[in-house]
């Protein structure tokens, strides 16, 4: 078990390193970039070029790429992610992210839990009663969920629940003055979480359904039934435990999707999180901020995969002895 863990950790660390190289490369090698469109009010092309050169020197962008990457990496590993250029000029990026990280993690975490809480039961029902009316309804629902553009769903929910009905607040995480009111916070959370979970529920329920169907065909299920074990226990104890394995991997793979969805959801609901910060950074060409958040999301991705691997090893003893 320990060898397995160590091996996985090492693999993931290397993966993370690779990703950091790629991300850094993308940011600085793709033609274009933060300064191409600025002209500093300069009167001629040469004057503008001189300004760009000065900026480059100031921000250390004129040194060779590998040197820049190395500086960035060594600093990042100790926690210094640089200074924000435009979003909050001069402020250390780390502090900016810190203030928003919790909000995004809350949103992503709640969505993951919520989506699983819905997908599991409906996936199981769908598998236990295939081709019934429930199955058709659930399949139709998951088709809908997979085809729905999240931003539209979010805007529609906003319109229905905030504008027309006025039941839920239109955005933000708290109402000023009520920062500690749990009910208020929940009211602010409901719509973003539901919107973020929709696509996840759709995909997960289909997956759970097919996984359960596979498992329920197995001989040991038949044996259990023949032995007289009540159907509910067969399904939940024997069936679900075996069907859940691929779902765990799926969960790990959904973390990058959750983060991408969070970017859009946070923008729609003006949720004070990392997604919106990222978007602001991109719009305002704030490269250190963008870099840091991208690396953070890559970290989340790799971390999610690692967790999924671990969970898989815990749940499936066969893996541990590879």
């Amino acid at each position: 078990m320990r060898a397995f863990l160590l091996r996985r950790l090492l693999q993931n660390a290397i993966l993370l390193l690779f990703i950091s190289v790629i991300v850094y490369g993308i940011l600085y090698l793709v033609p274009g970039g933060p300064f191409d469109q600025l002209n500093f009010g300069a009167t001629s092309a040469t004057a503008a070029a001189a300004q760009v050169k000065r900026l480059n020197e100031l921000l250390g962008l004129d040194r060779p790429l590998y040197e820049r990457y190395w500086t960035w990496l060594t600093k990042a590993l100790v926690g210094d992610w640089g200074m924000s250029w435009t979003v909050a000029f001069g402020q250390p990026v780390g502090r900016l992210i810190e203030s928003r990280l919790g909000n995004t993690l809350l949103l992503m975490g709640l969505s993951a839990v919520f989506s699983l809480a819905i997908a599991l039961p409906i996936g199981i029902i769908s598998a236990v009663r295939p081709y019934s009316i429930w199955d058709y309804l659930i399949t139709a629902f998951s088709f809908f969920g997979l085809s729905m553009p999240t931003f539209w769903f979010g805007v529609m929910m906003l319109i229905i629940f905030s504008v027309v009905l006025g039941w839920l607040p239109a955005g933000g995480a708290i109402t000023p003055g009520k920062a500690n009111d749990i009910v208020d916070r929940i009211r602010h959370l409901i719509m973003p979480v539901v919107v973020l979970s929709l696509v996840q529920v759709a995909g997960q329920s289909r997956f759970i359904r097919s996984s359960m169907l596979e498992v329920l065909k197995q001989d040991y299920i038949r044996t259990a039934r023949a032995k007289g074990v009540p159907w509910a226990r067969v399904v939940l104890t024997h069936g679900l435990r075996n069907a859940i394995l691929p779902v765990i991997t799926l969960l790990g793979l959904e973390i990058p999707q959750l983060f991408g969805g969070a970017i859009i959801t946070e923008t729609i609901f003006t949720w004070p999180g990392m997604g919106r910060l990222f978007f602001e950074g991109i719009s305002k060409n704030d490269w250190p901020l963008v870099q840091a958040i991208t690396m953070l999301s890559a970290f989340l991705v790799v971390g999610g995969n690692l967790l999924a691997d671990l969970a898989y090893a815990v749940v499936d003893p066969r893996i541990r002895y590879e």
Partner: protein, 314 residues
């Protein structure tokens, strides 16, 4: 043994006609199986109609997509504007049609390009094996584990700010950029599918036979192995168009996809939040169109998956 008087009657002489059955091509078989899925049929009908309407937009749209009519801002649906007007007085229906041309074109081209790249990478990796295989597939895995939306946004923004590109392409810059960006992050799934398929086909006898007959590797891969992997590729392509439509719409919604003056279903939704309180219906139609189109594609793709290989069904 007594010679029995019973003799076996001779079978009647038969012509070939009696035994001959209708020759049915693979395509017809697939179509027959596809026909049985009513939802799939509904899907392709809907897509067909919408695609046709969008292609014919310059001829059938009542207005052009950028003709402002300041006397009729945010009008509700009426006889002259079937779906109302937006915040600049432009006709929503016409904009939907024109936007559809671009959105569908972008998704189609991006999917086709992704497939080309994916097939190349997957088949070469699977056929030649060894170091090339490990290199290519590792690269594919790394690309797959990259967080896609953040990188899509970054790419779009940097390319957009690239002066020479913008000067060369003018108004169509955003379209080219988004096709490029969607392709770069979309070929991996196809590559994996093709990899798996070619790997298993490589071991079959017909490959060995081709090699024995002296066929070059190139020929074997692209005339035999890849076409036999067509089924999952086609399904991936169909579903891929749907997911790219949503991706393009999301990017346009955030302002980093297709920008004005080119209309897009996603960007038609972006300014909406400011006007949400005055005219909520503006947000409804573009998103509904996306939903209908992608839903139709998903139905058709699902039916296609069953039709192409009934064994795939659980």
């Amino acid at each position: 043994m007594s010679a029995s008087a019973m003799t076996v009657p001779m079978p009647p002489a038969f012509d070939d006609d009696v035994l001959a059955t209708e020759e049915v091509s693979q395509a017809r078989l697939v179509w027959r199986r596809f026909r049985r899925h009513r939802l799939g049929l509904l899907g392709i009908t809907v897509i067909g109609m919408i695609a046709l309407a969008c292609v014919l937009a310059p001829w059938i749209a009542p207005y052009t997509f950028d003709k402002p009519d300041t006397s009729n801002i945010m009008g509700t649906p009426s006889a002259s504007h079937w779906l109302g007007t937006d915040e600049l007085g432009r006709d929503v229906l016409s904009r939907l049609l024109y936007a559809g041309r671009i959105s569908l074109l972008v998704s189609l081209v991006a999917t086709l390009l992704s497939i080309v790249i994916g097939v190349l990478v997957g088949s070469i990796a699977a056929y030649f094996g060894g170091a090339l295989d490990t290199l290519l597939m590792r690269f594919t895995d790394i690309m797959l584990s990259l967080p896609s939306l953040p990188l899509l946004l970054i790419f779009s923004k940097t390319l957009r700010d690239f002066g020479p590109l913008r000067r060369a392409l003018g108004d169509n810059t955003s379209v080219v950029i988004i096709i490029t960006v969607l392709t770069i992050f979309g070929w991996m799934n196809v590559a994996r599918l093709v990899y798996g398929s070619v790997l298993s086909l490589k071991a079959r006898e017909f490959t060995e036979a081709s090699r024995a007959l002296g066929a070059s590797s190139f020929r074997i891969i692209f005339t035999h192995l890849v076409p036999n992997s067509a089924a999952p590729i086609i399904v991936a392509m169909t579903l891929g168009i749907g997911s790219r439509i949503i991706a393009e719409a999301s990017l346009s919604f955030l302002g980093l996809g297709i920008v004005p003056p080119n209309p897009s279903w996603g960007s038609m939704l972006s300014g909406v939040q400011a006007y949400m309180f005055r005219n909520p219906w503006l947000a409804f139609y573009p998103g509904l169109t996306i939903l209908i189109v992608v839903l139709a594609i998903n139905f058709a793709g699902d039916a296609l998956r069953d039709a192409l290989d009934p064994r795939l069904k659980n």
